[in-house]
Symmetry: C2
Subunit: 417 residues, 2 copies
């Protein structure tokens, strides 16, 4: 999707989004506000922006940040190539920040260029990275019909009211209540009207946009059941969880590129079979230098893991060609790519690895890491044909471990199966 | 703490605990109920049991599980050496399970041996693994004074009530409400009375013990502000978070055992300094075979990471002695122990690693893994003194990565710094 091009939402409404990202992240216990904490090397806010950006029918994405973070946010947008994003200076509270975000569509003096007012505006937190198009669609459609809509989730804990003495006053019947989550969506005119009407007390102490729409515009928001992945990154444990979920998502598929002599074809075949029992495998048998179009297709897809199987003990040239192809593809822009260079060796002599080779791989991996590509070496060595299956299974287990872990400290190491 | 011995709680009350562990874990989306999901190889329920067991003034720990999991639970207790635990068959709902757990202290026919009735009973979820003695103490003391007490946390999301048409009815003012968490504690007579009085409807549809104490015994529970780590493992992301938190907790300290010739002392010193800038280091310079008492002290402590620095290219004998010592210590019983065998090499010749050595380390590591000890090899090789600091920093980074990851698939690999 090129900047400036406009898609159409289901229902034909025009839609834009406002992402408040001004929080200070006190509950996280760190110095960095949580929306700027890195997950797989990339700030959380970039995930939320990307979740909106990939939906073609969302026209403009307004990210509202506190004044001291405007430059940081602009750098993030440039580094990760985000499109259709406008950065706006936030207020001192959540509601004031959202209001500022909305003003970009309505008030000339607030922004250098007034953006086209959308029929429906989505409001979504910068710290909810996993929002899917499906729930955004549902909330937008409900907002068009009801004027306001928001995602909800069942309560995890019972909610209780405390009395002034710090004792239990009463507990709420869990089934009657829901947690109000994001995304929410509104007819622009309704939520903008609500913000214009609301008091300073609302702006300073309130947090719930649905409440404003109800109080000031008599709009009862439609509540839409959301999925578990809508949760808000709040505590350090949520950052851990986000990191693991992303690693999990990145470990769903591997592209195996085999470039070996016929005598070694059996090893390549067994390795593929072993991998296929654990992960979705796209297998390609090529000479990389031929610039195979099949490979080009995979590289332009959504695969973040590559295994190159070679029969030379140090086939860095082939690996370099793949690195170049990946770099041109933009794939490593958003997520680190894992590239495992597998070497087969069936020499009958007692094999040994020279330090020069090891240092060469390490140096190569350090250079490649700068391009967000994590290179690891894996040697499959066997003499006894009876042990071949075991060795191959061990190799597949190591490949899976490297893919799942994506550990940047282990790049350039040569593992042995 | 030996089985059967009884400590005294602050305030001198007698205290026991009931852990309901009968849930089906639907929200987790897996076949295994979440309390039996493994975190660092050990079921979650074992963490909650351990959290109670390590507090000497908790007399009995009652774990209530569904009938089909009784044998599983007994196996867990035996495998991890848990003491003072009684397994009780649960009912079909949470409240019925807790009631069953309480009956063990009050009704002869329910248990083969009637346990001594405690003055205060703690109720804690099997899926809240990180509860600390401090909050348990506070809740117990408050229960002694008020009859009932429970940990609370601020709400993360606004809570809303929905109308019959699926639209927003009203939102609650977030500051007035709290999430009711665990642990909770009660004077035994109060909560037992409440369970005896309450209706089938309560037993089948209720979830909140504080509510029962209020409704049937007019006891307004004291609410105690808890820490963020009290949260309940509910979704798959919570399992990821628990895994990361435990890895984090296990990565706070390393014991470095150095056994090298004087010529290599500088490398050992630099490595220690580099590690000290990243982690708490207990440094020991010994010949392991002397059964050094200093080392024995460390092994009997709470350190789960060991680095052995040797100047032989393959010093498995020394490593084996440490493995034996660790095995005798019971340390690997609850958590996997990381053991990194570091070999220094300053030969001027071009170094090479033989496949025989590699296979020997791998075989050794596979055996040791059965004892829950994860062995990795690390080679520090340098010829150029100018590059020594860089090499040592790289070695320290690899050590930290191995400790933080505790990856069981990478055992027996020889990494090169």
């Amino acid at each position: 999707m090129e900047p400036g091009s406009r898609g159409a939402a289901p229902g034909g409404v025009s839609v834009s989004a406002v992402l408040p990202a001004g929080g200070s992240g006190e509950r996280l216990g760190g110095a960095t506000p949580k929306q700027f904490c890195a997950v797989q090397g990339r700030p959380l806010v970039s995930y939320a922006v990307r979740a909106m950006e990939r939906i073609s029918w969302i026209s403009d994405i307004i990210v509202v940040v506190s004044p001291e973070n405007i430059e940081t946010m602009k750098t993030i947008i440039e580094k990760y190539g985000h499109k259709r994003v406008t950065v706006v200076e936030g207020g001192i509270t959540r509601h004031r920040s959202i209001f500022n975000g909305l003003k970009v569509f309505a008030e000339n003096e607030f922004s250098s260029s007034l953006l086209q007012k959308p029929e429906v505006v989505i409001i979504h937190d910068a710290v909810r990275p996993f929002v899917e198009e499906d729930i955004i669609s549902k909330v937008v459609m409900a907002a068009k019909e009801h004027g306001a809509a928001g995602a909800i989730r069942p309560l995890v804990s019972t909610v209780i009211a405390s009395a002034a003495d710090g004792c239990l006053d009463h507990s709420l019947e869990r089934a009657r209540y829901r947690a109000s989550e994001m995304p929410q969506a509104f007819l622009f005119d309704i939520i903008y009207e609500a913000y214009q009407q609301c008091t300073d007390y609302d702006l300073d102490y309130g947090t719930e946009c649905l409440h404003l729409a109800l109080k000031y515009c008599k709009t009862n928001a439609k509540l839409v059941e959301g999925t578990a992945d809508l949760w808000k990154v709040t505590y350090k444990r949520d950052l851990y969880a986000a990191e693991s979920i992303i690693k999990d998502n990145l470990s769903q598929q591997v592209c195996v590129i085999t470039n070996v002599k016929e005598t070694l074809a059996q090893v390549g075949f067994l390795l593929l079979e072993s991998l296929k029992s654990q992960i979705k495998v796209e297998a390609i048998s090529v000479s990389l230098s031929k610039n195979n179009s099949c490979l080009q297709n995979v590289v332009s897809g959504q695969c973040y893991n590559f295994v190159c199987v070679n029969d030379k003990s140090c086939a860095l040239q082939e690996t370099q060609e793949l690195v170049d192809m990946l770099e041109r593809s933009n794939i490593p822009l958003l997520y680190p790519v894992v590239l495992i260079s597998v070497h087969l060796d069936i020499s009958n002599n007692s094999f040994s690895i020279g330090m020069e080779d090891l240092n060469m791989i390490k140096k190569f991996a350090r250079e490649t890491k700068k391009k967000n590509i994590l290179v690891y070496g894996l040697l499959i060595q066997y003499k006894d044909p009876l042990l071949l299956q075991e060795t191959v299974n061990s190799a597949a287990a190591l490949i899976m471990a490297l893919i799942k872990d994506r550990n940047p400290e282990l790049i350039g190491q040569l593992l042995v199966a």
